[in-house]
């Protein structure tokens, strides 16, 4: 495991990722301005999640990392989602 090769992402790839991220940011701003109704919050969070996934995968190189790290990151986000969900069993049914 010593000589783990680091995959090197090119500048061009990084620029592409940034452009996609900026596009998604614009999209979420627009979505809010246009008031797509009850799903505004859900949409904003969805777009944010997509952005976060992209940052994790490319900028933070998860794509090139050991599998165990990807499992851990996924597990941590899942755990947090469950904790929020369980808390809301209280608040939604009050």
């Amino acid at each position: 495991m010593k000589n783990h090769t680091h995959a090197v992402s090119t500048d061009r790839a990084n620029w592409t990722v940034l452009l996609i991220l900026l596009l998604l940011t614009t999209l979420s701003v627009l979505a809010i301005k246009l008031q797509v109704g009850a799903f505004t919050v859900a949409l904003a969070l969805l777009l944010a999640s997509v952005k976060v996934t992209i940052v994790l995968t490319y900028f933070m190189h998860l794509k090139f990392e050991q599998t165990i790290l990807r499992v851990m990151v996924g597990g941590v986000f899942l755990l947090f989602a469950i904790v929020i969900g369980i808390t809301f069993i209280d608040y939604l049914f009050r």
Partner: protein, 536 residues
């Protein structure tokens, strides 16, 4: 400690002087630094406990005022929970034995390890300081429930900072252990060839990492509330006091498993050694540890059944609480089966380990009475709860710790304690413990609330018996600690493997050399095979 030059070099004597200890990144020395600090704080908090018991010997004021009493149970809780029990087993035995048991020379980040000890000491000193600063000890209880903690005039902010700092130390230790286990296992040591104590530390470490930050941010929010009048929890500013309880217990319930899981790991090492027989059900024990860590994450609400939570979440949390009891039951049955058919040798470590099973069983079953909705209504916040968690934490984690220190003592110091002395101290400890806490179950059911300075005379019999138990318990503690302290220096030389254990720590000299192994061992089979040598 003085060693003659004729002794072989080991981690205790390869460098000498206080400075060499305070700057050592050797995991074994750091473990001992934790051990000494924890012992001192444990004794201090135990004395506070005794004083509270004396106060409650009779109704009304006996030796202290209500204010003193309230401050005392707060600081007793803060010291015992944050300074003694949470770091406790993991930081002491985890540090000393995790790397040896997996065949590594040290933890993954040795300097970070030392750093977390310093953070720990800093937090501990802050905690003590909060008791004395401005002449006002904090009096909120270790749970810091708002709005009281946001309003009380005592040193709450210092105590909160101390808990925050201690949490940070706990996180760093957990982080270190996870990486160590992932990256530093000896060649051939697959996950399922790893001994069970490291497995329990692994499950524990995940809780430390993923739950502790929640209490960190919660305490920061309470501080923000006190210092900047931000209203997260204060209803006058739109805050929600029950939300605080959610956040607090999202951490503090898993924290109970940070306390008990390593203790389970320790006794799991002890049963096979003293039965000379493989662990019964290695895989089920591994998965029960992981299940406890995972499901233990989702049951925090059972501390809040009377708080005004929604009906749905009350029964949801109750159901999950019962589910999380199953892995603990599995462990108990596996331990018993490990001894069954073995060649059982009742040496002090095993005596403490079976006391652990007995006390933990009582603690566990009373926990079920607390997890059941109907009975919880009667028992919540009574002395029954106090008795229950002392059976779990002191009877479980505490006796697990005592079992561990008697088990590994010859390895740590290369010397042996006095058995007779150990048996007698155990007798006092065990009797005193049960006399101290069992009466609290009874008066708890009758309705005696906890954290009461004064009480109805009808509860006096129970309270009185409990106080007598406290004196016996303290006598047992004094006997046990003096036996160990005295023989750490003056005891007869111990063999490298006095109990005929098969895990890796018994294959190195006692005390172990500075870097544990001259040559990293190669592991060829499962642990706990008593008819085969541990390594090739």
């Amino acid at each position: 400690m003085t060693y003659t030059s004729s002794e072989p070099l080991n981690y205790l004597n390869h460098k000498t002087g206080l400075w060499s200890w305070l700057t050592s990144s050797d995991h074994k020395r750091i473990g001992l630094l934790y051990l000494y600090a924890i012992t001192i704080f444990f004794c201090a908090a135990a004395i506070l406990g005794l004083l509270m018991r004396i106060e409650k010997m009779a109704p009304g004021q006996t030796i202290m005022t209500a204010q003193t009493y309230n401050g005392m149970f707060t600081i007793h809780g803060i010291i015992m929970i944050f300074i003694v029990v949470i770091p406790g087993l993991a930081a002491v035995f985890g540090n000393i034995f995790l790397p040896i048991m997996i065949g590594a020379r040290d933890v993954a980040f040795p300097k970070l390890n030392l750093f977390s000890w310093y953070i720990y000491i800093f937090g501990a000193i802050l905690g003590l300081y909060s008791q004395f600063a401005n002449g006002h000890s904090p009096d909120t209880g270790w749970t810091f429930y708002v709005p009281y903690s946001a309003e009380a005039s005592s040193n709450v902010v210092i105590a909160l900072t101390a808990a925050f700092v201690l949490g940070f130390s706990s996180i760093l230790t957990g982080l270190n252990f996870i990486v160590t286990i992932h990256r530093m296992r000896a060649p051939g040591m697959t996950w399922f060839r790893m001994p069970l104590f490291p497995w329990s530390l692994y499950a524990t470490a995940w809780i430390q990492i993923l739950a502790t930050p929640i209490i960190g941010i919660t305490l920061l929010m309470v501080m923000a509330e006190r210092l900047f009048h931000i209203g997260f929890f204060d209803p006058a500013l739109g805050g929600d006091p029950v939300l605080y309880q959610h956040l607090f217990w999202i951490y503090s319930h898993p924290a109970v498993y940070v306390m008990i899981l390593p203790a389970m790991g320790v006794v799991t090492e002890i049963f096979p050694t003293f039965s000379q027989k493989p662990v019964f059900g290695y895989v089920p024990i591994v998965f029960s540890s992981l299940a406890i860590a995972l499901v233990g994450y989702f049951v925090w609400g059972h501390h809040m059944f009377t708080s005004g939570m929604s009906y749905e979440s009350r029964w949801f949390f109750s159901l999950l609480t019962f589910i999380v009891a199953i892995p603990s039951a599995i462990k108990v049955f596996n331990w018993l089966s490990t001894m069954y058919g073995g060649s059982v040798d009742l040496k002090p470590p095993l005596l403490y380990a079976i006391s652990f099973i007995f006390l933990f069983t009582i603690g566990g079953f009373t926990g079920l009475a607390l997890g059941s909705l109907a009975t919880n209504i009667q028992l919540h916040n009574t002395d029954f709860v106090v008795a229950h968690f002392h059976y779990i934490i002191f009877g479980g984690m505490g006796f697990g710790f005592f079992a561990g220190i008697h088990y590994w003592f010859p390895k740590i110091y290369g010397r042996m304690y006095n058995f007779k002395w150990a048996y007698i101290s155990w007798g006092f400890l065990f009797t005193g413990f049960n006399l101290l806490y069992f009466p609290l179950f009874v008066i708890g059911i009758q309705g005696m609330p906890r954290r009461y300075f004064d009480y109805d005379p009808k509860f006096q019999t129970g309270e009185f018996l409990s106080t007598i138990g406290a004196f016996i318990l303290i006598a047992g503690l004094a006997g046990m600690i003096s036996n160990l302290v005295y023989h750490a220096r003056k005891g007869p030389k111990a063999e490298a493997n006095p109990w005929h254990g098969v895990t890796l720590e018994w294959q190195v000299p006692s005390p172990p050399p500075h870097e544990n192994f001259d040559e990293i061992p190669v592991i060829t089979h499962e642990p706990y095979l008593f008819d085969k040598p541990a390594t090739k």
